[in-house]
């Protein structure tokens, strides 16, 4: 019998420490697979900032470095400018990328830095225990919006991909989801396209991935895909926004 699917060799021999059903695992798996397919698993470098993303380095076989919360746009810029030939992914949470790090994220995009941002949009602050994120849905209950996110005073979810697509420099901006096998495959294609742009022609790319944080959603992981389809993707439609 032939093995037609198994764990990527770019994944390390340690099971992830993510919660059951956490789609951080899915995203990292896809990055590993793409790196193998592009033959860059020894070259790729990943920035893994604070947030549940920070654990990534332990689970992959390529080089990685940490970043203060929200600053991958800057650490990534410094790194890539000094190592222009090294393929680079900024692997960020939505809190990291769109809240504390919004200026770094937008300015790196605006400068057209030659790297790829993969942002995990799980609509909460996972690592710190489920506080509201800029992406939290209207009415969604979190530990800092116990009555549900109110429009009055906290506004609407930030759709970062749309904002970045407004800028001129970025070459590829897309939102994908990880809640069905079909979407997972589309997400993988998007990551691959982004890396190919980076390697072949150079330029900034942004891949937002809709993900589940069952722990902080207080939802059975099994029920997450349906909730994502029915509720989350209504606010965050998937598809290419640019490029």
């Amino acid at each position: 019998m032939e093995c037609i699917y198994t764990k990527s060799k770019a994944l390390s021999a340690v099971p992830t420490s993510f919660c059951p059903g956490c789609m951080h695992g899915t995203a990292i798996k896809l990055i590993a697979e793409v790196s193998e397919e592009l033959g860059i698993e020894n070259d790729l470098v990943v920035v893994a900032p604070i947030g549940c993303a920070v654990f990534m380095g332990a689970f992959v076989e390529f080089d990685s470095f940490g970043s203060p919360h929200g600053r991958p746009g800057a650490t990534g810029t410094g790194f890539k400018r000094s190592n222009p030939d090294v393929p680079l992914i900024l692997y960020q949470g939505d809190g990291d990328c769109a809240s504390i790090g919004l200026a770094e994220t937008m300015h790196a995009a605006n400068r057209g830095e030659n790297f790829t941002v993969v942002m995990i949009n799980n609509q909460v602050y996972g690592m710190t225990g489920g506080q509201a994120a800029p992406t939290t849905l209207p009415g969604q209950k979190t530990t800092t919006s116990p009555a549900g996110r109110a429009i009055e005073g906290t506004g609407y979810p930030i759709r970062l991909a749309e904002l970045i697509a407004e800028l001129k420099a970025p070459k590829y901006v897309t939102r994908q989801s990880l809640h069905t096998p079909k979407n997972v495959l589309a997400a993988k294609k998007a990551i691959k396209k982004a890396l190919e742009i980076q390697i072949n022609e150079g330029g900034y790319s942004f891949v937002e991935l809709m993900s589940a944080c069952p722990t902080n959603w207080k939802i059975d992981p099994k029920d997450a895909p349906k909730y994502m389809e029915d509720v989350v993707l209504k606010e965050f439609p998937v598809g290419d926004l640019k490029g």
Partner: protein, 180 residues
């Protein structure tokens, strides 16, 4: 008299609630009591644990090098904390998940079929109430009536939860008295 407790298990097993219950009950029993959870990112996918101290005097550190009573509700907790029992102390293991448990020398081992007992009480989620009853009866820090009152006040927000929690508590107490 100061008794120290270390309670460990995995996420859903309610060890934090158990620790808080002990603290509330001890306070209601006019003792000094502290509860200190282990928390945060490093707990992800691992074990959850907390420490409780109950004393007649003001309490200094809410943690200790080793404890009078160590409760381990799953295997990783057993591996991590079985060495944390004070000499003369007791190690309580959830025998439904941990088979072949062994205690260090000078430490008493109490095996508790926690999940089974919870089921017997009427709900798989009341393992921590079983353990609460057990610890109250075993350690003798807290008057059992006070303990029961506190437990019902904190755990039985709805009337319908009273019977199963009461049953769980009593099963625990019985087991605790038996194990003493």
């Amino acid at each position: 008299m100061e008794n120290t407790y270390l309670l460990a298990g995995f996420g859903g097993q309610g060890v934090q609630t158990l620790g808080q219950l002990l603290t509330y009950a001890a306070t209601d029993a006019e003792k000094y009591a502290t509860y200190l959870p282990a928390y945060g990112g490093e707990m992800r996918g691992g074990t959850s644990n907390c420490t409780v101290k109950i004393s007649d005097e003001p309490i200094g550190s809410p943690a200790a090098r080793s404890y009078n009573y160590v409760v381990v509700m799953n295997l990783p907790s057993y591996n991590a904390f079985k060495g944390k029992v004070k000499e003369g102390g007791t190690l309580f293991v959830n025998s439904d998940l941990i088979t072949d448990a062994q205690a260090d020398e000078g430490v008493k081992l109490v095996e508790v079929p926690l999940m089974e007992m919870a089921k017997e009480a009427g709900s798989p989620v009341v393992t921590n109430v079983v353990m609460f009853g057990l610890l109250c009866a075993y350690a003798g820090d807290i008057d059992l009536d006070v303990a029961k009152g506190t437990m019902l006040q904190k755990m039985a927000h709805k009337e319908k939860f009273i019977p199963v929690n009461t049953k769980a508590f009593e099963l625990g107490v019985a087991k605790g008295q038996e194990a003493k």
